[in-house]
């Protein structure tokens, strides 16, 4: 890149391309988007890997995430500190996992983490209730919520511990027809 300011060195771009599903152009665009979020915080020059994090409140203002009921969880899941502060690496990571070309297995793992609200490595009833309330904006009555959760667990829980482990979740998701088409964000 011969223009006045280099954002990444070629090696960095290559490395990012090796580590994600993005092309060079997309990575640069991602950086643009990232910088847009906090122009005063994020430098244009990323050649020396500055350790900068953009907080959750800024990230979720992105139009891609703004309407997503799980936006907080998504950002938290991909942030290294679990609080939702994303470094550029995390940022790229997030959109790489959610992009169209990333494989089902990877998406399943991250989906599991996103839906696991209390981070206990199980999707338990509590998580499901939260998911459901977010999905329906709390328009189901508590009884209905309980019923749906019970039903969902009944369907998907194979080892009978009344919560979904990753294996259960994977088994269930791997057969879902809409998962791949719905669980992706285009940047």
């Amino acid at each position: 890149m011969g223009n006045k300011q280099t954002t990444f060195t070629d090696e960095q771009l290559e490395a990012y391309q090796d580590c994600t599903f993005f092309t060079r152009k997309e990575i640069l665009r991602l950086h643009g988007r990232y910088r847009e979020l906090a122009p005063h915080l994020v430098p244009l020059d990323y050649t020396n890997n500055p350790d900068i994090k953009v907080p959750l409140t800024l990230i979720i203002t992105m139009p891609e995430l703004k309407e997503n009921p799980f936006r907080d969880r998504i950002v938290e899941t991909f942030s290294e500190d679990g609080q939702g502060n994303l470094s550029f690496n995390d940022f790229v990571d997030m959109f790489s996992a959610l992009c169209e070309t990333s494989p089902r297995e990877l998406k399943t793992i991250y989906a599991f983490k996103i839906y696991d609200f209390n981070r206990d490595n199980f999707i338990c009833k509590e998580d499901m209730e939260k998911t459901l309330n977010k999905l329906t904006k709390g328009e189901l009555t508590p009884e209905e919520v309980t019923l749906v959760c019970d039903k969902a667990i009944e369907e998907a829980d194979l080892d009978g511990d009344n919560k979904l482990s990753f294996a259960d979740f994977e088994n269930m998701i791997s057969k879902a027809p809409d998962f791949l088409s719905n669980f992706h964000i285009r940047i």
Binding site: K66, D93, R104, L135, A152, M172, S174, A176, P177, L180
Partner: protein, 940 residues
């Protein structure tokens, strides 16, 4: 946890001495941090980690000594751990989970990795032990508190070896085995680089690993191979590197070339993935048509234009005298008469010269092959796309197995970025949940099933009537248009001339809503209703198209009749002319009759007629579609928007409202349009170009229309489980459009005075001719043999057998699949039972459980103490821990248990006081969950 880590390392350094350099190694800084978190969270985990690391770097002879020391170090940690536990259960949980999830994957991977590495590494490391000993001091200090887990460590050793040995002499220090091992490692690393993006690791870690792996590969790739081979190898490596780079650049270029990415994304964020899928399909279609256009244009149209005879040189390329005055009129051109009819767009224009131009281009042959090749190519592409789609689509689940879970976890469309759409989505999800709940509560409320049945039958009868009526209407209209065609065109009104297309478009416009209204009677679930609707529209279109075709065939036969008489008349006139000429001038050297090409009597040229019909159909279809969008969407939206200020009810929320984007209708329209292109392309080569233009327009126009005047669906239903549904429709249409074309090519005689095949008996005679005249005779022989029924019959038989065989095989696979599923289910049931009542019912299994821990402790060698007391005490809770491994992932069993082993080992040396006997109960509620959590751990 830097402090704790410090102490731990310190202890290790003291205890283990020089070997420590590997123990203390634990990934990068952040790796270390996470690991320490992990330790804090789960003692077992930590133990596992350590033992892993140990195994990696230890040489067998030192194992014993070190373990002893380790044990001393450990209790301190675990004390801290307990404190930690009680202090922050919550944060522990979260961190642990995150760490663990990351670990889950990497464990399996790196376990393998390490396993292999160990083999490779150890072979190497033994040899360089002496060296290492010398260097150790420096290295140990240098690297002391920092870097590297097992992998890295191995690499370091290797690196050291090769660098040191490299300085001495490479050839002697590397035996064959070492090279093989190294090679394996290099391959491993390469694989890691290739699959890195699929790993659920943090980006930082990925970057670090990538760098390491790359460095490693860089370093050792050159070292492989010897002498001469070495240079070659280096060259090869360089070339592969270049190739990879090129591939990536090419990939980048390719993605940059995909058009309308942003546009589609915009639509997607407003309307969700289902509407976007239409545009993606449209784009795909555009690409396909572009390729078809390339074939058609490059191999047929362009050669004729460049090398063929110019306009006006021969009758077929000239407008007849009687048509000439009106040939340039817009109304005539608009109907594709006049100059259009005698242009490159249509079949009739092409000359039947065997070869044209300097290159001896065989145009007729090329015409036929392209005409057939278009079908071949489309078939290939459609099937390939279908196969690719079917790979990624969700498969194998019976309908209704996971209704609620799917709704819960996969119904949100992450692409939605528009508040309104999001609101609709929320609403639709809520309704769908409510519906499911109702369904669940009372599976079928059957009030008056007879009435419903009656209504459904009634609806179907009505729709059948509609279909039949529309078919008859089309047939009637086409017949009438033939009558009109015999009349003078001046007497006909515009409507009468374009009746066929008009009626067909109108039917396509009116019938689907009619069907929808009728379908209200049936009261199906919306998803099922949509399927019915699609099926009916499909039937309508197909029926219309085929009626149209049959009517067209009638016309064609009529034209053939008239052509025959004209042909006879022409020949007779020609003979007369020759006879007269020779008798008059008394010579045999007769010049061709000096008639102006415009005055020559000519036949009706049915191929051009068919081509014109198709082109007209496409154009009118296009007009109707665009007008519908303009009026039905745009004008409506404008009215609703601006009249709303002065109207008595709320137009936006009430009756007219804004239009919704009709995905299924649009897709079907596109599919049928494509079908007509396929059919018509043979008779009108220009049709493909026209279609490319049309699709291009559609893309922009519909994108604009959908963004400007449509509102997101209130109830979003996926039309199908994958877009293979549309592809399937396309395939069907392709096949159906293949039939008439191939039929005409094979049976009907081409016109005698127009088109590339004039003068032939049948169109495919061109191929025969080429085979006979231009190819060596043996190929002709082969061809005759190949077309022999005696050979074709066995071939067909063979194919049938192959189909039968493949079918049987797939059935077998299905059976196996079912069996495996059942087995899994059984295993899970067993597990469930065990969980529920811990004393397994099965005595044999129980015995096995007792044996298992002992058995599996074998791998960590030699010095195993007998299972410590607290194992026995906690038997109840411990046994299930090993079981899941046994039941779920039999393969991992060994690992799991051996990983768990160090844990019991720890407390024993410390004397079973605080942790052992009495506290077994006293531990009470708090550690319970911790253990529960830990228990589930080793499974993954």
């Amino acid at each position: 946890m830097p402090p704790k880590r410090k102490t731990q390392t310190a202890v290790k350094v003291e205890d283990v001495g020089m070997e420590v350099d590997a123990v203390a190694d634990s990934g990068s800084e952040e790796e270390a941090r996470r690991r320490s978190k992990n330790r804090r969270a789960k003692p077992q985990r930590r133990a596992k980690q350590v033992s892993d690391d140990e195994e990696d770097e230890e040489d067998d002879d030192e194992a014993q000594r070190k373990r002893g020391r380790k044990k001393k170090a450990r209790p301190r940690d675990s004390d801290e751990d307990d404190e930690e536990d009680s202090r922050s259960v919550k944060s522990k949980g979260s961190k642990a989970s995150r760490r663990k999830a990351a670990k889950e994957e990497s464990d399996e991977e790196s376990e393998e990795d390490r396993g292999k590495k160990k083999k490779g590494g150890r072979a190497v490391s033994k040899k360089e032990k002496e060296e290492q000993n010398q260097e150790k001091k420096g290295n140990g200090k240098g690297r002391g508190g920092k870097d590297k887990d097992g992998e890295k460590d191995k690499k370091k050793k290797n690196g050291r070896m090769s660098s040191s040995s490299g300085s001495e002499s490479d050839e002697e220090s590397m035996s064959e085995g070492e090279i093989a091992a190294l090679k394996e490692q290099v391959e491993e690393k390469k694989k890691l680089i290739a699959t890195l993006r699929n790993k659920p690791w943090r980006m930082k870690r990925r970057l670090v690993l990538l760098k390491e792996a790359q460095e490693f590969v860089e370093k050792f790739e050159g070292a492989l191979g010897k002498g001469k081979g070495r240079r070659l190898y280096a060259f090869k490596v360089m070339m592969t590197k270049k190739l990879i780079k090129f591939k990536r650049d090419f990939e980048n270029f390719k993605t940059a070339c995909i058009p309308w990415e942003r546009k589609i994304k915009e639509v997607e964020s407003h309307f969700g993935s289902s509407v976007a899928s239409y545009f993606i399909f449209l784009r795909w279609m555009y690409g396909l048509n572009l390729v078809l256009f390339g074939f058609m244009f490059g191999l047929v149209v362009l050669p004729e234009v460049l090398m063929g005879l110019p306009y006006g040189s021969i009758p077929r390329k000239t407008v007849p005298r009687e048509e000439q005055p009106t040939a340039m009129d817009f109304s005539v051109l608009f109907d594709f008469g006049g100059y259009c009819k005698y242009s490159i767009l249509f079949y009739g224009y092409y000359n039947n010269l065997r070869t044209i131009g300097l290159l001896q281009f065989r145009l007729p042959l090329s015409y036929l092959l392209v005409g057939v090749g278009i079908f071949g190519y489309s078939l290939m592409v459609v099937i390939r796309t279908m196969a690719r789609n079917s790979n990624e689509g969700g498969d194998g689940a019976e309908e209704g197995e996971f209704t609620f879970s799917w709704k819960m976890f996969t119904s949100w469309d992450y692409l939605i970025g528009n508040p309104e759409t999001a609101d609709n989505k929320f609403a639709s999800i809520t309704t769908s949940f409510k519906e499911s709940i109702v369904d669940e509560q009372e599976n079928q409320k059957d009030e008056n099933i007879h009435l419903r049945r009656f209504l459904r039958v009634l609806a179907n009868v009505m729709i059948l009537c509609c279909l039949g009526g529309s078919g008859y209407l089309i047939y009637f209209v086409v017949k009438r248009s033939q009558e009109f065609a015999e009349m003078k065109s001046e007497d006909l009104s515009w409507f009468e001339k374009n009746e066929v297309e008009f009626v067909m478009s109108l039917l396509g416009l009116v019938c689907p809503p009619l069907f929808e209204t009728i379908a209200e009677l049936e009261d199906y679930h919306p998803r099922i209703a949509l399927k019915w609707q699609l099926g009916r529209i499909f039937a309508l279109f197909l029926g219309n198209l085929y009626t149209f075709l049959f009517a067209l065939f009638d016309e064609v036969t009529a034209k053939l009749e008239s052509e025959k008489s004209i042909k006879n008349a022409t020949e007779w006139a020609l003979n007369e002319y020759y006879a007269n000429y020779s008798s008059f001038f008394n010579t045999t050297d007769i010049p061709p009759p000096a008639v102006n090409p415009a005055d020559v009597v000519r036949g009706p040229c049915w191929e051009t007629g068919v081509g014109i019909e198709f082109v007209k159909l496409i154009v009118s279809d296009m007009q109707v579609t665009y007008l519908t969008i303009l009026i039905g969407d745009f004008v409506r939206a404008v009215i609703v928007r601006f009249l709303n200020y002065c109207w008595c009810w709320d137009l936006e929320a009430g009756f007219p409202s804004y239009g919704e984007f009709d995905i299924s209708g649009n897709v079907l329209g596109l599919v049928f349009n494509q079908g007509m292109i396929w059919m018509g392309a043979f008779y009108a080569p220009g049709l493909v170009g026209l279609n490319v233009l049309r699709l291009l327009c559609s893309m922009y126009y519909q994108c604009w229309a959908v963004m400007a005047c449509n509102v997101p669906h209130e109830r979003v239903f996926k039309a199908s489980r994958s877009n293979n549904f549309y592809m399937g429709l396309l395939l069907l249409v392709l096949f159906l459009s293949l039939l008439p074309v191939v039929y005409t090519i094979m049976t009907l005689p081409p016109s005698f005075d127009c088109g590339p095949f004039s003068g032939q008996e049948k169109m495919y005679d061109v191929v025969m001719e080429t085979i006979e005249q231009d190819l060596p005779s043996f190929i002709g022989n082969i061809f005759t043999y190949a077309t022999n029924p005696g050979l074709i019959m066995p071939a067909v038989l063979l194919m049938v057998l192959a189909i039968y065989y493949l079918n049987a095989v797939s059935k077998g696979y299905q059976q196996a699949n079912v069996d495996l599923k059942r087995k899994m289910q059984m295993a899970r049931d067993e597990e469930k039972n065990r969980r529920n009542n811990k004393d397994s019912t099965n005595q044999v299994m129980k015995d096995l459980e007792d044996l298992l821990p002992n058995k599996s402790l074998i791998p960590p060698p030699t010095d195993e103490e007998p299972p410590p007391p607290d194992v026995v005490i906690e038997k109840g809770s411990k046994s299930p821990k090993t079981k899941p491994g046994a039941a779920g992932k039999g393969v991992n069993l060994q690992k799991d248990v051996s990983l768990a082993a160090p844990n019991p080992r720890g407390p024993v040396t410390r004397a079973p006081g605080p942790r052992g006997g009495p506290p077994g109960n006293a531990r009470g509620p708090q550690p319970g969950p911790g253990r529960g959590r830990g228990r589930s751990d080793p499974r993954r």
